[in-house]
């Protein structure tokens, strides 16, 4: 009985940690997604949301802090262009942002190797 309780407790702990990891990953991933969009070309608030919507649901209110954080971290820069008699703010990826993307894809290559290894084992 005790052993089962302990097992249950450990499981519960792991699950909790997974939930925390997921939210943290999601936060980091949003940043990467935004950098990924900008890596394809300069873009503006509305369009970034539109471009991301098919892959993940993101609201403008969620996007704003991410853009602000990236800008303050010097990963992106901004400039304004006139559009329909008002100013539209464009975001442009900088060297630091490109580095961040490369780091991310490198990490995932490692993870993919692990994945391939596991799937490959199963296939045998």
């Amino acid at each position: 009985m005790l052993a089962i309780d302990k097992q249950y407790y450990v499981m519960y702990n792991i699950m909790q940690r997974v939930v925390i990891m997921k939210t943290q990953m999601k936060k980091g991933i949003l940043e990467i997604f935004v950098l990924g969009v900008l890596n394809r070309g300069d873009s503006y608030g509305y369009k970034i949301v539109q471009d991301l919507t098919p892959i993940l649901e993101i609201s403008e209110s969620t996007l704003y802090p991410i853009l602000r954080r990236l800008e303050l971290a010097d990963a992106i820069s901004t400039y304004q262009v006139e559009h329909n008699g008002r100013l539209r703010k464009y975001y442009k990826i900088k060297a630091k942002g490109i580095n961040q993307l490369t780091e991310f894809t490198k990490e995932w290559e490692d993870i993919k190797q692990v994945y391939d290894f596991i799937v490959g084992e199963k296939g045998k």
Binding site: I20, T23, Q24, K26, K27, L30, Y44, G45, Y46, E57, S59, E60, S61, T62, Y64, P65, I66, L67, R68, R69, L72, N84, R86, L87, R88, K89
Partner: protein, 198 residues
């Protein structure tokens, strides 16, 4: 709510804790988003309703700024963080953190304030007493060398005190920035996940 009302409300909420440039950035962003979506066929009311509650919008921005400022070296930013941290800490989970933070900052201000204040008073007193002392020494028939010696010693004391005051002030500021940084990190950790992720 129309755009004007939305912006006024957002401005009101942000102005409690944010510097002007940060408020301007946020207002411009939402202004642009609303215009953009209206151009694509939605009404102002629809767009604003979909943006979510203003307090939620503000809390997302708040967490962001605190984290960014946590690494700043200026006392001004540390003070600003002090108030923002207090604002965030009004949520029940963080009340103990807020109390600890206020207590630490308060005791810092009192301790350093008292020492610096007493040193400033002492220095002032020495400077003020210089002239009557010179007259006194002169009247008691001391030689010019003795008077000069007396003044010299006092000026050295004043100089040392001034250096001590400046160093103490710097030390106090440094400790304050570190404390602010520490609490920013605690708040960041405690709000992680909710801060920017839906």
């Amino acid at each position: 709510m129309n755009k004007l009302e939305f912006k006024r409300e957002l401005n009101k909420r942000l102005s409690r804790t944010f510097p002007d440039n940060e408020i301007k950035e946020a207002l411009e962003y939402y202004d642009e988003i609303i215009d953009e979506r209206v151009e694509h066929g939605e009404t102002e009311e629809q767009v604003i309703a979909s943006l979510g509650e203003i307090p939620t919008i503000v809390s997302k921005i708040t967490a962001e700024i605190v984290v960014n400022r946590a690494n700043s070296k200026s006392v001004k930013d540390a003070w600003r963080n002090f108030f923002i941290i207090l604002a965030i800490c009004s949520s029940p989970v963080l009340v103990p953190v807020a109390i600890a933070f206020v207590a630490v900052v308060f005791s810092l201000v009192i301790a350093f304030g008292a020492v610096v204040f007493s040193l400033i008073v002492a220095t002032g007193a020495i400077l003020v007493s210089l002239i009557p002392m010179m007259i006194g020494l002169f009247a008691s028939g001391a030689s010019i060398y003795e008077i000069m010696l007396g003044i010299g010693i006092l000026l050295v004391v004043v100089g040392v005190f001034t250096i001590v005051i400046i160093k103490l002030y710097q030390l106090g500021s440094w400790i304050f920035i570190q404390v602010s940084k520490l609490f920013s990190q605690i708040v960041n950790k405690k709000t992680k996940g909710e801060a920017y992720v839906k």
